[in-house]
Amino acid sequence: MALLTVEGITKRFGGLQVLNGVDLTVAEGSLTGLVGPNGSGKTTLFNVIFGLYRPDGGFVRFRDRDITGFPPYKVYQAGLAFAFQLPRLFYRLTVLDNVILAARRQRGESFWAALFARRAWRREERDLAEKAYGILELLEMPHMALKPAGELSGGQRKLLEIGRALMAEPELLLLDEPAAGVSPALALKVYELLARLREKGITIFIIEHRLDLLLNFADRIYLMDKGAIALSGPPAAVTEDPVFYSVYVGEHRKWVS
């Protein structure tokens, strides 16, 4: 069943047509990849899906709900989560707080409940803290829990960005290049995390340049070029298609495994 449907999305920035009618679907329970050369519009598409930009035309549907043009907080509430390529953490807050913030529907986050329903949210806080700590242990950084997020290394920050997604327990997780700029060992760890997420039933939609990783984990790949989908299908089929190589002109030799 298609969890996410994107239909005819267009987006223009000044003189540049960045998205040129994008159509794709993400099947429930899958790990779907979005690849393509730099400048093909992948990140812009994700930003549009998550409401950071409004599309000029087209639709985004989540299950059977039209979420086109929803502001990001509404998209989140509909059941999605987003991990940025360059982590957007809250650097002066503690690592623990950064994770807890990602949890859904916290009672204590409302003005009146925070002041008057103290018992209720205190209990919830404790449970969330346990869960958050568990996630930090998984990410191998429990010792950093009470330190400001600004003290994390680059690799740890990337992991934390994904850890927040775990906390958010979305139905669909969008990840923009989770393995970018990290060591191969860490990249593998990231993907193992993603596999865990899949086991929990979270659908994953991922922009990735590291095709070697994606080829082992993805169910389906979309190839984007100049703002539109050029190719789609299971990884093996896509990588053997001549269109794939012509889009990545000059780069194909790297990816032959």
Partner: protein
Amino acid sequence: MAADPLIYVLDMLVFIGIFSLLAISLNLEYGFTGLGNFGKVAFFMAGAYTYALMIETGAPILVSLLGGATVAGLLGGLVSLPALRLREDYLAIVTLSFGEILRLFVKAQEGFTGGVHGIQVPAAFTAFVASPRLFGLANVVLVYLVAGVAFLFVQALINTPYGRVLRAIREDDVAVQVLGKNPVLYKVQVLVAGSFLAGLAGGAFAQYMRFIDPYMFLPLVTFYVWIALILGGPANNWGAVLGALVVEIFNRGTRIAKDYLVLPVDPNNLQFIMFGVLIILLLLYRPQGILGESRLRTPAFRRWEHGAADR
């Protein structure tokens, strides 16, 4: 100025209390949520004038105070709706302009608010008016009661998941959206609450001064509150109080110097010159103020702080 030192001290305490309340209100808006409100005096003024008008109609003191605070809060809500989506510098200019517009409006209204002549505020503590010392003391009690409640309120609000969202908004109000929180809602709430508190301070001020006019509500007041907050430490309620204390004492100090010392420089001017230089130096070398930011103490934090040994 009274020659009675006790009255002088009481007077100073009242002003420190009122300033603390204003600084706490700004702390909620700027220190914790990152909202650069440059129009604090407008809400202070709204509270003061509303209190004055209500007490004239015979309303009891508490009702008038709350009435002033409510009007100020509503005004804050009104201003926030268009203003909060603006980026920081525009927000500053808009709030500053709003403060001036309100002041000019009040100044121009002859009948309703007394215009340039101001209004007399009937004393609520009629029993104490006869004795200046008791009057002073009664006001100190009132002001610190109100300020104390405000302090506890903001402290209570801050160390909660709500407070955590506020601080997150301060860091990055787009990332907060991606995690499902709507920053506009929080910002409006904070501005309403902050304006409410400023209105309370205004009512207490009107009550104590027994007379208000538009010249008491210049942008200077907003500036004083900002200095107090930055000096004491933004995002720290104790810092807000400390800052208010220091600013008021400094204020007084220069006024005393005028009467008792012969300086080559007019202390009034010197005070402002020093304040200006001080704030610049603070912002250059210690922008976190004397006390620095307070830690976010939610149950989660406390749990791990104590339970760290179990891990």
